[in-house]
């Protein structure tokens, strides 16, 4: 069991596997997203209060779920790399970050698009949207820190410390923002007061969530392959790969 585990812990052996997995998950992602969007835009019933505009929820909610989940995964890999000094874990964490940031941005953008027809404003200082905004800054911070450090080992370790500190802070940030939101009731409207869930709505969102998850895996693996090639460019296996004899 342990032999299998460590076999793929070196970039050289993981590289081809990552390629195959990325392709597989990419196809699955297309399928799942296709089904999810169909369910969301055609099958799920029109909402009594919000009309058709609510359908953006099928992208907004899964994107928000993914943004949080990916940060946890990123912190997990980064922490693993810090604790066990493995090269690949750090590369995975760096590979996940841009996808996580993308989903955070998507959640914010779709949240804004939802807000306009429903509540009349492009932005609402709702607890979840505000937390998503801060999460976006956390992702940017991670990516900016890694971009600023030339030495890849230091970049991985520093990113790991930041990601772990971020993970510890996320619950604190979320609860303080939620509290802030309830204190200043006044103009606040909550996007979390979603329409009551019909079964098809929940299925649609779940399928989309899986679709996004598969996409994230595929994208992260592809990015990880690029990072591996870049970092190990001095080694033999990369030279072989470049020559085409993989």
């Amino acid at each position: 069991m342990s032999i299998n585990w460590f076999k793929y812990s070196s970039p050289q052996t993981f590289f081809p596997l990552a390629g195959k997995l990325a392709l597989g998950f990419g196809v699955l992602a297309l399928l799942a997203c296709g089904v999810g969007l169909y369910l969301g835009f055609f099958v799920a019933p029109t909402d009594a209060q919000q009309g058709e505009a609510y359908r953006i929820i099928f992208i907004h909610v899964p994107a928000a779920w993914m943004s949080m989940f990916l940060y946890l995964v990123l912190a997990f890999w980064a922490g693993l790399g810090l604790a066990f000094n493995t090269r690949l874990s750090g590369m995975m964490a760096s590979a996940i970050a841009p996808t996580g940031a993308l989903f955070t941005f998507l959640a914010l953008w779709t949240g804004s698009l939802w807000g306009k027809p429903t509540w009349g404003t492009w932005w609402v200082w709702d607890a979840r949207l505000t937390s998503e905004l801060i999460l976006l800054f956390l992702y940017f911070g991670f990516m900016a820190l890694q971009a600023a450090i030339d030495d890849p080992r230091r970049a991985d370790k520093a990113g790991a410390v930041l990601a772990l500190v971020g993970v510890v802070n996320i619950p604190i940030i979320y609860f303080s923002v939620k509290w802030w939101n309830t204190l200043h009731q006044g103009a606040s409207v909550s996007l979390t007061k979603a329409p009551t869930m019909a079964a098809t709505m929940l299925t649609g969102m779940t399928v989309m969530a899986f679709g996004f998850w598969f996409y994230s895996i595929a994208a992260a693996l592809m990015r990880a392959r690029c990072i591996m090639l870049e970092r190990e460019r001095a080694s033999e296996w990369v030279a072989d790969y470049a020559r085409g004899s993989a």
Partner: protein
């Protein structure tokens, strides 16, 4: 005559060091015991400073480990550092503090606080009599280097000295002073690691030499 230093024993096992893109050295082994002087030679950029920093525990080797008294130094942490003096390229001197104040802070942080009289003595030994109470800002390069090295005169109880280019930027008299300090320390049964372009000319029973090739 100072205190007898504790019995030192530093082992490097299969050290590899890769910095950025370059592999600096690999499969490096050495054992250093009391009374032993290890001189690390090599062209600029060959990894001398990196090796010293690995021996101190500031830098983690890409592979391999360093042991003090049989135990990995990363596990020993402060226990090891209490038995080490490291004087690197940087003087570790604050410009806004006087030479005496700088030494006082250095010794206290190392766990061996010294009385002002001892500090004055150490500074005099390195030819800095009269400059003890001047802010380091107004001292010359050579004087600052001597202030940093004056710490050696206060570390007779520390079994391991690791020195990066201790003779650089010093005039002949100061070089002799430092040589004397190192020779005395070795005769106390302590261990010294240093890098230098000058020939050490320090006679000691056990002299090791490691040559690092520029990659």
């Amino acid at each position: 005559m100072g205190k007898k230093a504790g019995t030192p024993s530093l082992e490097a096992l299969d050290l590899h060091c890769v910095r950025g893109e370059r592999k600096l050295f690999g499969a490096l082994n050495f054992t250093l015991r009391g009374g032993g002087l290890l001189r690390i030679a090599g062209a600029n950029g060959s990894g001398k400073t990196s090796l010293l920093r690995i021996a101190c525990g500031l830098l983690e080797p890409t592979r391999g480990e360093v042991r003090w008294g049989g135990e990995n130094i990363q596990r020993l942490q402060e226990e090891f550092w209490r038995q080490l003096v490291y004087i690197g390229h940087a003087n570790a001197i604050k410009d806004d503090l006087t030479a005496a104040e700088n030494l006082h802070v250095a010794c206290t942080l190392a766990g061996v606080p010294r009385r002002p009289a001892r500090i004055g003595e150490a500074l005099r030994r390195l030819g800095l009599a009269g400059s003890e109470n001047l802010p380091a800002r107004v001292l010359s390069q050579g004087q600052r280097r001597r202030t940093a090295l004056a710490r050696l005169a206060l570390s007779e109880g520390i079994p391991l000295w690791i020195l990066d280019e201790p003779f650089a930027a010093l005039d002949a008299a100061a070089v002799e002073d430092v040589r004397g300090l190192i020779a005395e320390h070795l005769s106390r049964g302590a261990a010294v690691i240093l890098t230098t372009h000058l020939e050490a000319k320090i006679t000691t029973a056990a002299a090791l030499r490691i040559d690092l090739e520029a990659a």
